[in-house]
């Protein structure tokens, strides 16, 4: 019985990784699944509360400002820019991982620096948006936005969830930037060149893409729906 099972699947017979990946990458994947559940729980909570609410603010009205543009009505333009920046930083991350595969120390460092700049730009945009919303009276426990049907807000659910979930995502971007900086230092020091592979770049890359992917869902849930 046992022999039949093992004869077919040599990959699983022990002595090597069945997926031919290091334990570190495996752990990163499992961590990402776990983290997906954290965000999933938050977004599903948001979904149920919103579904139960009588009415909800219109994102086109709430998110219509742009820095230095005064009172110009530019719905969702700023957040589109933020999203563009974050997705571009994913592209540069892909290029960093690619350069790592070719053992190109300089190119890896260059693309990593661009990724870090992209991350910091995204966080700065978020900081501006939060500050702006705070100025118009929004915060945890304070919801100044009328519902899309014009009625006054009945609860603070909209802002509560907005700040909690985008804040939680921002925290992930921040830790991603920190990880990228640590890896960049190691790239510049030649640690991975010496080690013979750039797998650490790949691992932080996985995390970075995951954070981007989460943003796509956060963006959809708060700005588009």
């Amino acid at each position: 019985m046992d022999n039949a099972v093992t004869a077919k699947k040599k990959w699983w017979s022990g002595g090597h990784s069945p997926f031919s990946v290091s334990y570190g990458k495996l752990m990163m994947w499992y961590f990402l699944i776990s983290d997906a559940f954290t965000f999933g729980a938050l977004l599903i909570s948001y979904g149920t509360q919103r579904f139960m609410a009588q009415a909800w603010p219109d994102p086109n009205v709430v998110f219509h400002s742009f820095p230095l543009m005064g009172h110009a009505n530019l719905p969702l333009v700023f957040v589109s820019l933020m999203t563009f920046i974050l997705i571009m930083s994913s592209v540069t991350m892909v290029l960093a991982v690619h350069a790592g595969h070719h053992m190109d120390q300089k190119a890896t460092a260059r693309w990593l620096i661009l990724t870090i700049i992209g991350g910091i730009m995204f966080l700065s945009c978020q900081a501006w948006e939060w500050t702006h919303l705070h100025e118009v009276g929004a915060w945890w426990g304070r919801n100044p936005f009328p519902n899309h049907d014009g009625s006054a807000p009945l609860s603070t659910n909209f802002t509560d969830f907005f700040f909690t979930i985008t804040g939680f995502h921002g925290l992930h971007v921040t830790s991603g930037v920190v990880l990228n900086i640590i890896v960049l230092i190691n790239v510049l020091k030649g640690t991975y060149q010496h080690r013979g592979h750039y797998e650490m770049v790949e691992k932080v890359g996985l995390y970075w893409h995951f954070v981007d992917l989460v943003w796509v869902f956060v963006f959809t849930c708060f700005y588009l729906l």
Binding site: M1, D2, V5, T6, K9, W12, S13, G14, G15, H16, S17, P18, F19, S20, V21, S22, Y23, G24, L26, M27, Y30, F31, I33, S34, D35, F37, T38, F39, G40, A41, L42, S45, T48, Q49, M52, A53, W140, G141, R142, L154, S155, T156, N157, D160, F161, T164, F168, I182, V183, N186, T191, E199, M200, K203
Partner: protein, 608 residues
């Protein structure tokens, strides 16, 4: 990637570890100079980390069990006063009788401590750490550094939880589930003040610890098995630890999300869980929240959590029953399949804790069906355990007795689960002593029996000595009989409608008839608690004075951990890691009592 190569492939975070365990490829034991700190405190050896989890768990178990003695005194002797209570609890027990606030704090902390700190960290933390590398044939965990962090995060969580016992307003007292709005409003009860914050922070750190540990367990089992150790040759302990870790990785993050929202409700002025509330005659401004949302988030962890507790015990029991009855485990693949089925179903039944919260009865019907489905894999496992020992040549050791005791309590506690899983019967039985009886037998006592069995069985591997058998037998019989005497009568109280979570029943005419029974239960609780102290004595005494091992394989078992030296160093095997050729259960085969996994299969051997 080979085991050795994986060990050497450390990332930048594990820099300092790298030279700690690289003895395999050159085939000699390394004599690394270890300081007291690196060997006993910030150890990265999975065996030492297992001991740290075990001893921390034992300390927590004594505290948690002692709390139950204290509140059982109140339930059993509501009119009596115990002046010594005032000397240890101060104003929480003025005049020698504990206050209602203290009672709820004790109940809450009893649940929290035993569910999370003892039966999750103490059980899974101990045996996953000890057995995974030893039984799959690895030098250590995939990442020894993360493994060390896992313990120290647990330690930090323990410190926070412990400190909450000493704050002026007392620890959390809203039950181990910490339902809002009670837990969200500091004005609602003194247990919802700073004690609740410490509870939430401690639990959040506990989630981090659990995640670090579980990721390690999963990657070690998948990636680091020795040559020949295919998944289907793994002992059932490893399968159980594997699925336990999967449950933890997928369910704890949801609890964390729930706690984040609760913290904002407590301090951020938000209304995630709060709506239309009066506290002390004052109207709160909160609108639009839902307390039921918290229950969904909590029980999405809370239900898998009971399997996180029971699966390791099941794995340990499967292994010990095969070893001690000198028979192969019955239905190996059915055992693996049923663990998998339980893991899957564990995520689909959480709402059976919420049948009476206003859940749509139509939805409830699905949760009833899925809940009752769990009886199928559970029954498969029970029958397989019984057929494993059936006509076996049973060696009665404390470990085998506790394993048999596990099967007994798992059956009697599991059967009442079928009652409670029905949403119609649950209307009558929810929140009564029946529920207390059910989950204490099926998950508290059973998991403890699995843990005791594991400690008695693997103590020789942990410390190179045996535990005292006579004390073990006394421990077993008093605990088994005591557990049934404590919890069996509670079924009757529950069926009569006696609710749980009450401080004092004496003004409640209908339950006065249970006064004597309550006194009896409390009396037995004290005896059983004292017996556990006997076990603790046996444990620590045997570490230093126990009978020494003379053979590396004292139980004549087949698994890999017994191929290591009596006191294995960091790296486990002095030479090469042995290769595995057969499954873990070749007992009484072809006239041989047992054949270790490392023995090659000879051509004239019979198939099993």
């Amino acid at each position: 990637m080979s085991n050795e190569a994986t060990l050497h492939n450390q990332d930048l975070m594990h820099h300092g570890v790298e030279h700690g365990h690289g003895n395999g490829h050159d085939g000699h034991d390394h004599h690394h100079e270890e300081t007291f700190i690196s060997k006993y405190v910030f150890s990265m050896d999975h065996k030492m980390i297992a001991k740290q989890f075990l001893i921390t768990g034992i300390i927590w178990a004594i505290i948690g069990a002692f709390f139950s003695v204290l509140f059982r005194l109140q339930l059993g002797y509501p009119d009596a006063t115990f002046p010594w209570l005032e000397s240890i609890l101060g104003h929480w027990a003025e005049g020698g009788r504990i206050t209602a606030e203290a009672y709820y704090a004790l109940v809450t902390m009893h649940g929290t401590i035993l569910v999370f700190f003892v039966l999750t960290a103490g059980l899974s933390g101990t045996f996953s750490n000890l057995l995974i590398p030893l039984q799959v044939g690895a030098r250590d965990m995939a990442s020894p550094f993360m493994n060390m962090l896992s313990y120290w995060f647990f330690f930090l969580a323990s410190c926070l939880m412990m400190s909450s016992l000493f704050v002026q307003t007392g620890p959390a007292s809203g039950g181990w589930t910490s339902y809002p709005p009670l837990s969200a409003l500091g004005d609602a009860s003194i247990g919802s003040k700073i004690g609740m914050d410490l509870w939430l922070m401690s639990m959040a750190i506990f989630v981090v610890s659990s995640l670090l540990g579980s990721l390690n367990y999963i990657s070690t089992i998948l990636n680091m098995r020795t040559k020949g150790m295919s998944m289907t040759k793994m002992p059932l302990t490893i399968w159980a630890f594997f699925f336990t870790a999967v449950l933890g990785v997928l369910s704890f993050p949801v609890l964390l999300s729930g706690f984040v929202l609760l913290l904002f409700d407590r301090h951020g002025g938000t209304s995630f869980y709060l709506s239309e509330i009066f506290v002390a005659g004052k109207v709160l401004p909160n609108e639009g929240g839902s307390a039921i949302l918290y229950q969904h988030l909590f029980w999405f962890l809370g239900h898998p959590e009971v399997y996180i507790i029971i699966l390791p015990a099941m794995g340990i029991v499967s292994e010990i029953l095969a070893v001690s009855s000198r028979k192969p485990i019955f239905g190996y693949l059915a055992m693996v399949g049923s663990i998998f089925a339980i893991t899957l179903l564990a995520f689909l039944v959480w709402a059976h804790h919420m049948f009476v919260t206003g859940l749509n009865p139509f939805l409830g019907a699905f949760f009833v069906l899925l809940t009752l489905l769990i009886a199928v894999p559970s029954a498969i496992k029970v029958f397989n355990w019984i057929t494993t020992i059936w006509r076996g040549n049973i060696r009665f050791t404390p470990a085998s007795l506790f394993s048999i005791g596990f099967v007994s309590t798992f059956i009697s506690g599991g059967l009442t689960g079928i009652w409670l899983g029905n949403s119609a019967i649950d209307i009558h039985l929810h929140d009564t002593m029946f529920v207390i009886a059910h989950f204490h037998i099926v998950m508290g006592v059973s998991a403890f029996f699995g843990m005791f069995a594991g400690i008695y069985h693997w103590f020789p591997k942990l410390y190179g000595r045996y535990m005292n058998q006579t004390l073990g037998f006394i421990h077993f019989w008093i605990t088994l009989v005591g557990a049934y005497l404590i919890f069996w009568p509670m079924h009757y109280m529950g069926m009569a409608g006696m609710p749980r979570r009450y401080f004092d029943y004496s003004n409640w005419q209908s339950f006065n008839m249970f006064g004597g029974l309550n006194e009896f239960i409390s009396f037995v609780v004290i005896i059983v608690f004292a017996t556990q102290l006997l076990f603790v004595f046996n444990f620590f005494y045997s570490i230093f004075k126990g009978r020494k091992l003379t053979t590396p394989n004292p139980w004549e078992a087949t698994t890999l951990e017994w191929t290591t030296p009596i006191n294995p160093g960091h790296g486990n095997w002095p030479g090469e890691i042995p290769e595995v050729h057969r499954w873990a259960y070749d007992y009484s085969k072809d006239g041989k009592d047992f054949i270790p996994q490392t023995v090659p299969v000879s051509p004239d051997e019979s198939k099993h």
